[in-house]
Amino acid sequence: MEIDFDTTDHIVGIDLGTTNSLVAFMDLTGPRIIPGADGGKLVPSVVSVTENGSIAVGNPARELLLTHPERTVYSVKRLMGRGLDDVQEELKLFPFRVAPGSESVIHLQLGERTFTPPEISAFVLRQLKQNAEEYFGVPVNKAVITVPAYFNDAQRQATKDAGRIAGLEVLRLVNEPTAASLAYGLDKRENGIIAVYDLGGGTFDISILKLHDGIFEVLATNGDTHLGGDDIDNLLLRIALEDVATEWGEDLSKDSEGVQRLRRAVIQAKEQLSFVPVATIDLEYRGKKYQRQINRELFDKLITPIVDRTLGPCRDCIKDAGVSVEQIDEVVMVGGSTRIPLVRSAVETLFRAKPHTELNPDEVVALGAAVQAAILSGAVEDKLLLDVTPLSLGIETMGGVVSKLIHRNSTIPASATEVFTTGVDGQTNVLIHVVQGERELVKDNRSLARFDLKGIDPMQAGMARIEVRFLIDANGILSVTARDQRTGKEHTVEVKPSYGLTDEQVEQMIQESFEKAEADFAARQVREQRVEADAILGAVEKARHHDAYFELTDDERAAIDKSVNELLLVYNADDHHLIAAKIEEVNQATLKLAENMMNTAVRGALKGTKI
């Protein structure tokens, strides 16, 4: 086998997380995380629109969350591919401001601008892309991005859209627990059955895999895309807010800066409790203090309902995988929340095995994504992932009942073919409503899209025979094609996604992001020139009190005044070239002055006195 990393493009692996995001790549030494300019491996998935309109991402945005919560957004992954109705519960807990017109795609208000969740995620992706480009010194345009295994079609599509908006070709979406198993599986057992328990910031996944000579075959997956560390934070935050209300006699929940500071204090205490038996929630805000000790026992009691919510999906997953608990050889822990001792003991009890925690649970998914990137580039040939679709795919039939076409836990790519006909004489189109989920009735499942089969030749009802093929690709994303069985002619299928962006909208966002990037860049250049103008104007003002200034001729002084006035006139213009030109004129007009000042300084130095 030839391992040739040099001739391939740099395909990076990205873990686009609820709380933190990472980018990794693989070389001959194995997968490795690419650090950012500040040396940190984790890029907080936080985006802020600063007051001058520029975008801050990661740690700087995390700081702005405290001071400018109304211009900052976090945990946006929870909104990906969702409609307004889906997120009412999140909106109660998160300081998200939803802009009007958010029924099928949410628009968040950040300062003066509005963004959809894929656009916000794209800012995070762009930062990771940039980190990788600085690391390699070459452009990076291709990526593997991980998603929760339990993400539905719309959530996957939204993630792919985010990649496109960020200028990345998303070669593959990989399920997070599966990616983690790739990172773990590298030097582990060759054959056996493993379970991956992935409790992150906002999502929970459980996957059971069969390992067989480098093939990673997912047997079953289950989860909850709205369950994670965020829920623990919000639980503790609610309690702390009540405490504060009692102690301070004031409702801090209306004060978004106060809430964010308290939220951070709560998270600190939570994280400490994974390592020490007692921690303190510590807040100092506007001259007031709040302190509350919390011990592990109380913490465990509080979070038990949240941890318990992960156990049902685990049991269902074991059942669907068709294995017994005893057959599971290893359990792998993924996601920051698996550092919590109660989570570890709950998993140990359920699986009757000590879970693996050797790899950093924050990094293992990104490392796995890098392995998958190397598989796609051809650099790794002995490994292959066979993943499944987490949810059944069905179509609406008479009476709002679902007819399942592709069952959950089917290995992807997977397909199904169904023949449709017309119900009325002369009917020329058929509308197919596709849903995802396990329930019997359409209304209890997730509406994916409506497909309109057009251009059917008018004929008697029931005579048309349109063969429709539903195909779920290796990313877990559905496509639909249709063919007239009589004529063999391909039919056009018009897709109306129930949630999410249309192709045209994504294209427009890509366009806008380029334009915005140019505007952002221009704005930065203007700011830089103004800083320079400030420096020279300040120096000239200071020099006016200098002896050397009085040694100038009247004309020379007038020339300086003129150049300074002209610079002041263009100072507020948005044209950095113009400001730069005027700065240069001031420089020219003050050459003699600068020279005189230098001479004075030299003379002063010779005399041994300070000027």
Partner: protein, 185 residues
């Protein structure tokens, strides 16, 4: 439509070696999976997508004995429509009638029907095991004689099985309407 047996390159029998099936599936997956075609022209990528989805569909169908049997029936031109499995097999008419009465009582909150239902659950579960044995016998016979009569018998047995399976499920749900925790094996 791709022939599942041909695609997996295994002999066309109702009883088959699951080990061989898995081995062939893994080999072909390594060859056909879209991951292997990422740097190839779009047309080849599209073909890999089609082939690997067919391969997955084939493996899913053939590794399950009942789905495998259904597949062979359809391939051999038998109609296995939904409607057929809803007809009560005549020999079960009486038992099913009584069972439905008991189910009605139980659902209306009359717990006195419980022992009868539990008895019915046991008896139908036993019946299921018998049908499975019968089906297994038919598999062996068909693999030896390839006779359409055997397939006809197989279709009847499969419908009977499906019917009994539904009954067991219904009794089970009525007796324990809440989510049933996974019993340790």
């Amino acid at each position: 439509m791709t022939d599942y047996y041909a695609l997996l390159g295994i002999p066309r029998t109702l009883n088959l070696s699951l080990d061989l099936l898995q081995q062939r599936y893994y080999e072909l997956s390594r060859e056909l999976h879209p991951d292997r075609y990422m740097r190839k022209p779009v047309a080849e990528q599209q073909r890999a997508l089609e082939m690997s989805s067919a391969l997955n569909d084939a493996y899913r169908t053939l590794r399950d004995p009942l789905q495998r049997a259904m597949y062979v029936l359809v391939q051999e031109g038998f109609d296995i429509g939904e409607r057929r499995s809803k007809d009560v097999p005549p020999e079960l008419l009486e038992e099913v009638f009584e069972l439905n009465m008991a189910l009605e009582e139980m659902r209306s909150g009359d717990d006195s029907a419980r022992p009868q239902l539990e008895q019915a659950e046991r008896s139908f579960t036993n019946m299921l095991a018998e049908v499975d044995q019968q089906i297994q016998g038919l598999f062996v016979r068909y693999d030896a004689n390839s006779s359409r009569d055997t397939l006809l018998e197989l279709r009847t047995a499969l419908n009977r099985r499906k019917y009994i399976q539904n009954l067991v499920g219904e009794v089970h749900r009525t007796l324990a309407p809440s989510h049933q925790p996974l019993a340790p094996k």
